[in-house]
C-alpha cells in the first residue's frame, strides 16, 4: 500500500474530519463530491466530535494479512448521526455491548512489514472523557 494514499487521508484519519453541506448543513464522513441529502456541492470542513455509541461489533479471529488477530471491529453511531466503521481498542470482547458509549483515539492501524511504514488513524475506546473533564 502506498504512502500518498495515507497522506491524502490524513485529515480524516487523524482528526475525523468530514464535511458540512453549505446549503443544508448535512454532515458527511468521509467527504463526498455531492451532498447525499440535497445534491449540493459546496462544503466546509467539519471535525466530528469523536463521541458515539457502539451500533454493532465483531471479534475478528480470522484476519487479512497485516492485521494480527484477534481484534475488535465495530460500527459506531456518532453523536452527529454518522455511522462509521472502525476498530475498538482498550477493551476485551466480552466487555463490549451494543449501545455502550465510546470515543475516538488515534492508534496504529497497521504496519507494512517489519521495515515498512506505520499507519495511524482513528479507533474507538470506551468513553473516559467524562471522568477526566468533570
Amino acid at each position: 500500500m502506498d504512502l500518498p494514499r495515507y497522506h491524502r487521508l490524513r485529515s480524516a484519519y487523524y482528526r475525523l474530519e468530514g464535511q458540512r453541506c453549505a446549503s443544508c448543513d448535512t454532515l458527511q464522513f468521509p467527504a463526498r463530491a455531492r451532498c447525499g441529502s440535497c445534491g449540493g456541492n459546496a462544503f466546509e470542513d467539519h471535525r466530528l466530535s469523536g463521541r458515539g455509541t457502539v451500533y454493532s461489533y465483531t471479534e475478528m479471529t480470522q484476519a487479512p494479512a497485516g492485521f494480527p488477530p484477534p481484534y475488535l471491529m465495530a460500527l459506531v453511531r456518532l453523536e452527529e448521526g454518522v455511522l462509521l466503521a472502525a476498530q475498538l481498542t482498550d477493551i476485551d470482547a466480552h466487555e463490549v455491548e451494543i449501545g455502550m458509549p465510546v470515543e475516538m483515539v488515534t492508534r496504529r492501524l497497521r504496519e507494512h512489514g517489519p521495515r515498512g511504514f506505520l499507519v495511524y488513524g482513528y479507533k474507538f475506546r470506551p468513553l473516559l472523557g467524562r471522568r477526566l473533564v468533570s
Binding site: 461489533y57 475478528m60 479471529t61 484476519a63 487479512p64 494479512a65 471491529m73 466503521a85
Partner: protein
C-alpha cells in the same frame, strides 16, 4: 431487445484443485458448456472473475481463457463485480445478445483461490470493501457481514442457533451434487459448536475458499438448433448500493438485492411465488436471511421463521441452494454467480439427479458482491 436463451451449461467440480490453474479450469468449463450446447465456436467470451490480478498475478484473463479454450479470435474480456462477478458476466453476455451485437456468447465464472495463503486471499477479498475506510482498518467481508448478523440478532431478538437451517439445508443438498465441495450433511450440534471466524459468524455460517469454473452459452432464438434444450432468460437486472456499510440508511436491508429482484419481477410480470427455486447468495447465513427478505419471501426480520418452518428445504415453498449453494457446493467467489445459473439450468432441465425438485419450471438466481454493494439477479424459465 431480443429474447435470450441458455443453450449450454458446464462446470468443473468445486474444491481445492492443486493440479489445475486458471487456464485448465476455465477451458474445461467453457468446453463443457459448448459441448452441452453442441456448438463449436462463439462470437464472444465474457469472464466473471474477482481476484486473478491480486491473487494469481494474471490480468488479461479473458484472452488467456479464449486462447486456452480454443476460441480465438472471439471478443473476450473480464467483468469484475466482486462476488457478483459470475452473475455479471452472464448478464453481460445476455445484454450483448439482446442488443443484437452477438448471436452466440459464452460466459464463464472462474476463481482460483487456493494457490495463495489464507491471509492474502482474505486481503484480496477485503479489497471489495472500501479500501480507504474499511479494508485499511482491518475489515473483511466476513467482518462486515458479522456486524450485520449481530445487529440482526439484536434488533429482531434472534439467536445464532436460529440461522442453522440455512447451513443444514445447504450441506444436505450438497450431498446429492457430485460437483460440490462438501458432500456431507452437518448436524445442528456441529453448526452450534463451529468456531467463530468473526463473532457471531462461525465456520459453518460461512462459505469456503476454493477453486472452480462454471460456464453457460447464451444465444438468440434464431440461433437455437435442434437437439438443444433452450431455457429462456425471462429477466436480468443489476443494482448497486453504498460501498460503506455505515452509509446505508438501514444496514439490515440489502438495497441492491431488493432493487435488482423487483426489476426482474416487473420485467417478467412474475412474482416471488412464481419461482420454484431460489439460488440465493448464501456466502454467510445472515446474507441468506437478508436476501430472502429483499426478494419478497419474508418480511423484515421474518426470514428465520420461514427457515424454521422448512420453507427453504426441497419441497418447501421456496427451496434455496438446491445443489448446496455457496455454503456447501463452495464459493469460488467470481465463479459462484455462474454456478448458480448452471445449477438452476440443471433443475429446469430435470437433470439435477438426487436433488431434482418435483416442480422446476422457473428459477430465481441472485449473485451478491461486497456485502450487498452490488447484486445481479436473473429469472430463468424452462
Amino acid at each position: 431487445m431480443r429474447d435470450v436463451f441458455i443453450i449450454g451449461a458446464g462446470q468443473t467440480p468445486v474444491g481445492e484443485h492443486w493440479d489445475l490453474g486458471l487456464r485448465e479450469l476455465g477451458a474445461t468449463a467453457v468446453r463443457a458448456a459448448l459441448d452441452d450446447a453442441r456448438v463449436e465456436s462463439v462470437d464472444a467470451l465474457y469472464v466473471g472473475n474477482m481476484l486473478s490480478g491480486c491473487v494469481n498475478g494474471q490480468e488479461n484473463l479473458a484472452t488467456l481463457l479464449a486462447d486456452a479454450a480454443d476460441l480465438l479470435p472471439a471478443e473476450a474480456w473480464k467483468i469484475e463485480a466482486a462476488c457478483a462477478s459470475g452473475g455479471a458476466a452472464v448478464r453481460a453476455a445476455a445484454l450483448a445478445v439482446a442488443a443484437g451485437a452477438h448471436d452466440v456468447v459464452v460466459a464463464v465464472g472462474i476463481e482460483k483461490m487456493t494457490d495463495a495463503v489464507t491471509g492474502s486471499v482474505s486481503a484480496g477479498l477485503a479489497s471489495a470493501a472500501d479500501q480507504d475506510y474499511e479494508a485499511s482498518h482491518g475489515f473483511t467481508f466476513v467482518g462486515l457481514s458479522a456486524l450485520m448478523m449481530r445487529r440482526y440478532m439484536h434488533e429482531h431478538d434472534r439467536s445464532r442457533d436460529e440461522f442453522a437451517p440455512f447451513a443444514l439445508t445447504a450441506h444436505r443438498n450438497a450431498a446429492g451434487n457430485e460437483n460440490a465441495m462438501f458432500r456431507k450433511p452437518i448436524s445442528e450440534e456441529e453448526y452450534r459448536e463451529s468456531p467463530a471466524v468473526a463473532s457471531p459468524i462461525g465456520v459453518l455460517d460461512a462459505a469456503p475458499i476454493c477453486d472452480g469454473a462454471a460456464a453457460v452459452v447464451v444465444c438468440t432464438k434464431e440461433a437455437i438448433q435442434s437437439g438443444q434444450e433452450p431455457l429462456r432468460i425471462a429477466a436480468s437486472a443489476a443494482a448497486t448500493d453504498t460501498m460503506a456499510l455505515g452509509a446505508r440508511g438501514d444496514i439490515l436491508e440489502l438495497g441492491s438485492a431488493a432493487v435488482s429482484s423487483s426489476r426482474c419481477f416487473e420485467a417478467s410480470g412474475l412474482g416471488p411465488s412464481d419461482m420454484d427455486l431460489f439460488e440465493a447468495h448464501d456466502a454467510f447465513t445472515i446474507i441468506t436471511a437478508l436476501s430472502l427478505e429483499a426478494c419478497g419471501y419474508a418480511g423484515r426480520g421474518e426470514a428465520l421463521r420461514l427457515a424454521a418452518k422448512g420453507c427453504v428445504a426441497p419441497g418447501g415453498c421456496i427451496p434455496i441452494s438446491t445443489s448446496g449453494g455457496l455454503k456447501a457446493r463452495g464459493h469460488p467467489v467470481g465463479a459462484s454467480g455462474t454456478y448458480q445459473i448452471v445449477d438452476a439450468a440443471l433443475q429446469l432441465r430435470g437433470r439435477a439427479g438426487p436433488n431434482q425438485l418435483q416442480k422446476a419450471r422457473r428459477a430465481l438466481t441472485q449473485s451478491i458482491g461486497g456485502h450487498g454493494s452490488v447484486a445481479v439477479t436473473h429469472i430463468i424459465e424452462a
